[in-house]
C-alpha cells in the first residue's frame, strides 16, 4: 500500500516561535497512526497545517500525491480529508441530523441523499436515536460521536481525530475505540491525537511522537514504549 499522506519537512512559525519544525513522516493507506506528545508539542498545529486551516511556513503536505499547501479547508475536505476538533464544535442550534447532513452536502447537492448518508453515519456512531435532538443539548460523549459522524458523512479517505476521547469516562472511551476500529475496517486511513496511552497503543499501527515541535520518534507501539527518549520527554530524565 502506498502513502496516502506525506509530510515533508513541515515547519510552522508563529512569530519567532516554532510550533512545528522540520517534521516529516508518511502515512500508509488504511492504517491508524497515533500522534502523541506532551502538551504544547505541536500536535494540533500539525493537524491545522495538514488540513489547510493555515498553511505551513515551510515544507510540504502531500495528500494522494497532490501538494496541499495553502489549499482552503473546504477544498481539502472535498479532496477527501476531514478532521475533528479537540474542542467539539457542533452547530449547536441545528438538529443532530442537520449537523451530519451539512457534512454530507460536501458530496451531494440533494438534501434527500444527504439525509440518507447522514442517517447511515448516525447509525455507525450509534446516535441515530437522537437524530432530532438539538446538537447543543447533547452530553460531551455524544457530541464527540456527532463530530465523528459529521466528518464521516463527508466521505473522507483520511480522517484526523483530535483528542476524541478527551474528557470521556472509560466506558465512553471504549465506545470511541471500537468506533475507530470500525472505521478502519471501512478502509479509512486515520490519524489520531490522543493522551490516553493505553488507548493509543491499542489502536495505532504506527505512532509518531512530537516534542517541542519536533519529531522525537516514530515506530510501532512496541518500539515507542521501549524508546528512552520518549519516556524522558514524558516523565523527565532520571538524571
Amino acid at each position: 500500500m502506498g502513502a496516502i499522506l506525506e509530510i515533508k519537512h513541515v515547519s510552522k512559525f508563529f512569530g519567532g516561535l516554532a510550533a512545528n519544525s522540520d517534521v516529516s513522516f508518511e502515512l500508509a493507506e488504511g492504517m491508524i497512526m497515533g500522534l502523541i506528545g506532551p502538551n504544547g508539542a505541536g500536535k494540533t498545529t500539525l493537524f491545522n497545517c495538514i488540513t489547510g486551516y493555515y498553511p505551513p511556513s515551510r515544507g510540504e503536505v502531500i495528500f494522494k500525491g497532490r501538494k496541499m499547501n495553502g489549499l482552503e479547508p473546504n477544498k481539502v475536505c472535498k479532496l477527501g480529508m476531514a478532521r475533528t476538533w479537540q474542542k467539539v464544535r457542533p452547530l449547536a442550534k441545528m438538529s443532530v441530523l442537520d449537523n451530519v447532513m451539512v457534512g454530507a452536502l460536501c458530496r451531494t447537492n440533494s438534501l434527500k441523499v444527504a439525509r440518507d448518508i447522514a442517517l447511515e453515519q448516525l447509525k455507525v456512531v450509534r446516535l441515530d436515536r437522537k437524530a432530532d435532538f438539538l446538537a447543543g443539548g447533547l452530553p460531551i460523549g455524544e457530541r464527540k460521536k456527532l463530530e465523528v459522524a459529521r466528518v464521516l458523512a463527508t466521505r473522507p479517505q483520511l480522517l484526523l481525530l483530535d483528542e476524541v476521547m478527551g474528557g470521556l469516562n472509560p466506558a465512553e472511551s471504549e465506545e470511541i475505540i471500537q468506533l475507530i476500529l470500525d472505521i478502519k475496517k471501512h478502509g479509512i486511513t486515520q490519524m489520531v491525537i490522543e493522551h490516553d496511552m493505553k488507548a493509543i497503543m491499542r489502536i495505532s499501527d504506527r505512532i509518531v511522537v512530537l516534542n517541542s515541535g519536533e519529531k522525537l520518534a516514530e515506530g510501532s507501539p512496541e518500539e515507542i514504549v521501549a524508546n528512552q527518549a520518549v519516556v524522558e520527554a514524558y516523565l523527565g530524565s532520571e538524571h
Partner: protein, 514 residues
C-alpha cells in the same frame, strides 16, 4: 379601541418592511460577523432603481422588484467579492469603516447623478386606502344596518347593475330596521329620505307619490333633530325638484318648496358648492317649462346660483380659478346656452351622509401590498434557508464558519450569497416604501440605524428576531406617534430598545455569546 387597532395595524404593516431591512442585515451579520453600515444606502439604491424604472419605463414600483431583486443581488455580491471578503478576519473597527465608507460613496454617487432633490413616486394608489374589520371594530347592530343601507344606496346611485330600484327597496328595509334598533338617528333618517326619493324617481303615479310622501316624512324628522344640516336640506330640496319635474300643473308649488329648503340651507352654510349647484339646476329646470320673461327671470336666477357655486367650488390643483365677475351681466340668450351646457344633464343625485367615520380600520393600500410582498419574501427566504442544500450551508456557515469550511462548505461563496441576499432584501424594502416615502440620497442613514436597532433588539443573526424586531419597532413608532406625539415616536422606540438591552442584552431571540 378603534384608534388603538388602527395604529396597531399601521404599525404592523410598516413593521413588515422594517423586518425585511432587518432580516437583510441579520443574514449578513450572521454569516460574516460584519455589521453592514451601508445597509440603508443599499435600500436607497433600491429606491432610486425603482424610481428610474417608474419614471422612464413606467414600471409599477411593486412590479419593479422583479428587476430590482436580481440587480441588487449582483450588486451586493460584487461588493462582497471585491471589498468585504478582504476584511472578514480584520478588526471590527476596520470592517465598520469599510461599510460606512461604502455607504458614503453610494449616497454621494447618487447625489452626484440625481442631486439632493426629494423625489416623489406617485402611483394611482399612493394615497388609497380601504377598510377592514368593520364588523369587529364596530359591532353595534344599528351601525351595521346603517352602513349596509348606505352601501346599497351608493351602489344603486352608481347605477351599474341596472337593478337600482331593487337595491333601493332593500336599503329602505335596512334603514327601517336600523331605526328600530336605535330610533331618532338623523343620519339614518336623512339617508332613508334620500333613498326613498331616489326610488320614487324610478316609479310613477300613485306609487311615486306615496314614496315621495314617505321621503318627506323622513326628511322632516331628520331636520327636526338636526336643523340646518346642509345635506338633509339639499336632499330634501332635490326630492321636491324631482317631484316637480313629473308633477305637471302642480309643479310651481313644489318648486317653491324646493327653494324654501335651499334657502334654509343657504342660511346654514352660505358657501356650499353642491347646494348652489343643485339650486341653480332646479331653477334651470323650472325655466324650461316657462316662456318669455318668466323663463328669462328664472334663467338669470339660475345663472346667479351657478356663479355662487363656482365661487364656492374648491379650486383643483393646477387649474385656473374661474373669474365669476366676468360671467356677470350676460345677455339671456348666452346664459341659456351656457346653462344648457352646465345643467342640461344635471344628475340630481342626493348627497349621502357618510358611514360612521370610525367604522372599521383604514388600511393604506400601498402599505398593505408591500406587507403581502414582505410576507411572501420572508416565507420564501425561510424555505430557502431551511429546505435547500445551499440554505443549510449558509446556516452552517453562520453558526461556525471554520467548522463549516472543514465540512467542505465554500464559505467565501456563502458570504457572497449572503451579502447578495442582504442587498436584495434592502433593495426590495426600498422599492416597497418608494410609493410612500420621499426619495433622496441621504435617506439611507435613517434606515441603517433602524435596521441596526431592529437586529440588536431581535438578537444579532436571528432571522426570527429581525422579523419580530421589525414589527415591534413599527408598532412602537405607530403607537408612540398616536398616544404621545408624532415627534416623540423615536423616543418610544429607543426607550424600548434600551429596556431590551438592559434586561436581555443578547436581544429577544439572541443567544448570549460568551
Amino acid at each position: 379601541m378603534a384608534i388603538f387597532l388602527q395604529s396597531l395595524i399601521s404599525g404592523v404593516l410598516i413593521g413588515g418592511v422594517y423586518a425585511l431591512i432587518g432580516i437583510g442585515l441579520t443574514i449578513i451579520f450572521g454569516v460574516m460577523r460584519v455589521i453592514n453600515f451601508a445597509h440603508g444606502d443599499l435600500m436607497m439604491i433600491g429606491m432610486y432603481l425603482t424610481w428610474n424604472l417608474f419614471q422612464y419605463f413606467h414600471m409599477d414600483p411593486f412590479m419593479s422588484i422583479v428587476v430590482g431583486i436580481p440587480a441588487m443581488f449582483l450588486f451586493g455580491g460584487l461588493l462582497q467579492k471585491v471589498f468585504i471578503n478582504r476584511v472578514l478576519g480584520a478588526l471590527p473597527q476596520n470592517q465598520i469603516l469599510l461599510t460606512i465608507g461604502l455607504g458614503l460613496i453610494m449616497s454621494n454617487a447618487v447625489m452626484l447623478v440625481y442631486t439632493s432633490d426629494y423625489k416623489i413616486l406617485t402611483t394611482r394608489y399612493s394615497s388609497d386606502s380601504f377598510k377592514v374589520l368593520q364588523s369587529v371594530v364596530n359591532p353595534d347592530k344599528y351601525e351595521r344596518l346603517y352602513d349596509k343601507g348606505n352601501a346599497l344606496v351608493a351602489e344603486a346611485l352608481a347605477g351599474k347593475g341596472g337593478n337600482a330600484a331593487e337595491l333601493l327597496a332593500k336599503a329602505d328595509k335596512k334603514y327601517e330596521e336600523a331605526l328600530k334598533v336605535k330610533p331618532g338617528q338623523f343620519r339614518a333618517l336623512a339617508n332613508w329620505g334620500a333613498s326613498l326619493a331616489s326610488l320614487a324617481r324610478l316609479r310613477q303615479g300613485e306609487e311615486a307619490a306615496a314614496l315621495y310622501a314617505r321621503a318627506d316624512e323622513k326628511f322632516a324628522a331628520a331636520a327636526a333633530i338636526e336643523p340646518g344640516d346642509i345635506d338633509i336640506l339639499c336632499n330634501w330640496a332635490i326630492a321636491y325638484a324631482s317631484r316637480a319635474a313629473t308633477a305637471g300643473p302642480g309643479a310651481d308649488s313644489l318648486y317653491e318648496k324646493a327653494y324654501e329648503k335651499f334657502k334654509e340651507g343657504e342660511e346654514a352654510r352660505p358657501d356650499s358648492y353642491d347646494l348652489f349647484n343643485a339650486w341653480g339646476a332646479t331653477l334651470y329646470r323650472q325655466a324650461l317649462i316657462k316662456q318669455g320673461a318668466e323663463a328669462d327671470r328664472l334663467l338669470a336666477a339660475a345663472w346667479e346660483k351657478y356663479r355662487v357655486a363656482l365661487d364656492a367650488k374648491p379650486v383643483e390643483e393646477g387649474a385656473e380659478p374661474v373669474d365669476t365677475e366676468a360671467l356677470a351681466n350676460k345677455p339671456p340668450a348666452e346664459i341659456r346656452a351656457a346653462l344648457d351646457q352646465v345643467y342640461g344633464k344635471f344628475p340630481f343625485a342626493p348627497r349621502l351622509k357618510p358611514d360612521k367615520r370610525d367604522a372599521g380600520i383604514s388600511v393604506s393600500t400601498p402599505l398593505a401590498i408591500s406587507f403581502v410582498i414582505t410576507v411572501a419574501i420572508t416565507l420564501l427566504l425561510y424555505w430557502f434557508l431551511m429546505k435547500t442544500d445551499t440554505g443549510q450551508a449558509i446556516r452552517a456557515t453562520a453558526q461556525d464558519r471554520e467548522a463549516a469550511q472543514l465540512m467542505g462548505i465554500n464559505v467565501k461563496r456563502m458570504s457572497i450569497l449572503a451579502f447578495g441576499m442582504g442587498a436584495s432584501l434592502a433593495g426590495t424594502a426600498g422599492a416597497l416604501v418608494s410609493p410612500t416615502y420621499y426619495i433622496f440620497p441621504q435617506i439611507g442613514g435613517t434606515f441603517t440605524l433602524k435596521a441596526f436597532v431592529i437586529t440588536v433588539l431581535g438578537g444579532m443573526g436571528s432571522i426570527l428576531g429581525a422579523t419580530v424586531g421589525g414589527i415591534i419597532i413599527g408598532v412602537a413608532e405607530s403607537l408612540g406617534a398616536v398616544y404621545i406625539s408624532a415627534g416623540w415616536k423615536d423616543v418610544v422606540v429607543y426607550v424600548l430598545f434600551l429596556l431590551v438591552l438592559l434586561f436581555k442584552p443578547s436581544g429577544l431571540f439572541g443567544k448570549s455569546r460568551v
